[in-house]
Amino acid sequence: MKTSENVISVRHLTKRFGDFTAVDDLSLDVRKGEIFGFLGANGAGKTTAMRMLCGLSRPTSGSGTVAGFDIVRQPEDIKRHIGYMSQKFSLYGQLTVRENLTLFATIYGMPASDIRRKADEACRALGMDGVRDRPVRDLPLGWKQRLAFTAATLHTPDIVFLDEPTGGVDPATRRKFWEMIYRASSEGMTLFVTTHYLDEAEYCHRVSIMVDGRIRALDSPAGLKQQFRAATMDEVFRIVAQDARRT
């Protein structure tokens, strides 16, 4: 794994809003096919950092590449190679399961001939064949979440950014969700996940912990536990984030 290429590689990324430095000197490499956990307390700057990586937000300073494209100069090219699932469950509630899948596949530039087949396959894989013509807003939250993930990955992007994808979902659904993440990873996609659930951090290949806009720790879960002499990721997080000022 160490030898494989880096799909995300950024150096000294900084984002300021006026006097406030949301992200401070972020340097990071993520390898292809990796499940990278991006941890941090509320307000630590996770979402801002992720928005810069997706090309949604322009860094104040710093440089880097995502999917081989420059994050400052080629954000439009980056967009063609990523998928994104936002913090809140977000699909179009009035549209049906299939209409949502078709819409996002079209938006991400999938060839029309593939869309129908892929959307049908995805419905079957999700076990949502029976509800594929029902409006999404009628589905339970866990289903919506899995559907949103499918919509973000239907076009098999190089990298999928997941911003707290499992917020408010029960443990059984979270488990199912992580099975989907593993499957995507085994298909060669790279997953960049922010989460609040520290048990989920254990499922990641590598984890970074952000405190007050800076990355304080970065390693595999096992490596971090060893480094901080902790039994669980929960403990690691408490040690690293104990002096956080922005909470």
């Binding site: 994104y84 936002s86 977000s90 179009y92 009035q94 938006i107 530039g109």
Partner: protein
């Protein structure tokens, strides 16, 4: 299916499956138009009139006969002077006409209940015009463009000026902000779709809906409300389309400034409605305002649109008479759209 078409389809499906929006957008303007066209009117009809006659002469008979035959008045009867005051106070009459003959010379006095100032002023003016017909040099009145002084003529341009600003800016701002609230907007922004396409995908469906509304309003105005139909209706259409684009642009601009649907609704509803009603000339003539307010009214698109509509729909003058208004509206549209697009594109 192209990206643009799929965005439009998404928006149309959204509208069709949430019929409340479409209902509000299409029904509310029609109700307003009919209300102002029929029910609410600044005309004064059936003024209840009492007469106090000092000395009955042929002249007073002729005069009272004229009031009797005038549909604006209901002559309640001839009463004694002390009764007149009581009846007026009890609200059983709106005005009293006192006729006295001194040395062969008829003089008259009008007493009105001014608790409703509008009614009192209009009634006095009516009475004077009827009574003065008896004088030696009658004034021949000739009201151009709206000979019957129908208030529907007055209100149709005003209502249209208000409706399009409100409905169009509300629809676009709320729909864009709701996508931002549910963060589906983020999904569109991280996708390879160009911001320009996202904006057009939002504006085009609402533009089409507004066109439907325009058709509905014009049909009603020219049929039910009886506005005189003329070739100038064609100019009304393109001018209205320009105004609709301006209003959609304003909605987009609002959406970049607020972050919740409620705020979007309040801004485009209240912040736009009050100046439109007060300062656009829809109800109160711009010419009678203090100079400072006249200046402010120049910034209100509705003022220019309403004034141009009056020229086209009521005066039915050739199109060159609305060139100044058109130029101002076109300039405003350009500025608003540029600002909105700039703010929308901004990567934060």
């Amino acid at each position: 299916m192209s990206i643009f078409r799929s965005l439009i389809r998404k928006e149309v499906l959204h509208l069709l499956r949430d019929p409340r929006t479409v209902t509000v957008v299409l029904v509310m303007p029609v109700v307003l138009l009919l209300l102002f066209g029929f029910a609410i009117s600044t005309e004064v009809n059936g003024v209840r009139l009492l007469a106090v006659v000092g000395q009955h002469t042929d002249e007073t008979h002729r005069l009272l006969e004229r009031f009797r035959s005038n549909p604006c008045f209901t002559l309640e009867g001839i009463v004694a002077p002390h009764e007149a005051d009581d009846l007026l106070r009890q609200g059983k009459a709106d005005a009293v006409l006192v006729l006295r003959t001194d040395g062969g010379q008829l003089t008259h006095q009008v007493i009105t209940d001014a608790s409703n100032t509008n009614l009192a002023q209009t009634a006095t003016a009516y009475i004077e015009s009827v009574a003065s017909g008896e004088s030696s040099s009658p004034i021949v009145l000739h009201t151009l463009y709206n000979p019957q002084l129908k208030s529907a003529y007055q209100f149709v341009p005003g209502i249209m000026g208000m409706i399009f600003i409100l409905i169009c800016s509300m629809m676009t701002s709320v729909s864009i902000v709701s996508e931002r609230e549910s963060s589906t907007m983020d999904l569109l922004l991280v996708s390879p779709v160009r911001p320009r396409t996202i904006i057009l995908g939002k504006l085009v469906p609402y533009f089409l809906l507004s066109c439907l509304l325009l058709g509905l309003m014009l049909t009603l105005s020219y049929t039910v409300l009886g506005l005189p139909f003329s070739p100038s209706a064609l100019h009304v259409v393109w001018l209205s389309l320009l105004y609709i684009i301006l209003a959609l642009g304003l909605g987009m601009l609002v959406s970049t400034l607020v972050s919740t649907q409620v705020a979007a609704l309040l801004v485009s509803g209240m912040l736009f409605m009050v100046p439109v009603i007060m300062l656009s000339g829809m109800i109160f003539p711009v010419e009678n305002m203090p100079v400072a307010l006249q200046g402010v009214s120049c910034l209100i698109p509705a003022r220019w649109y309403i004034s141009a509509l009056r020229v086209l729909m009521i005066q039915q003058l050739p199109v060159r008479h609305i060139l100044p208004q058109t130029a101002v509206l076109a300039l405003m549209t350009l500025v608003v759209l540029t600002l909105a697009a700039k703010k929308f594109n901004l990567r934060k």
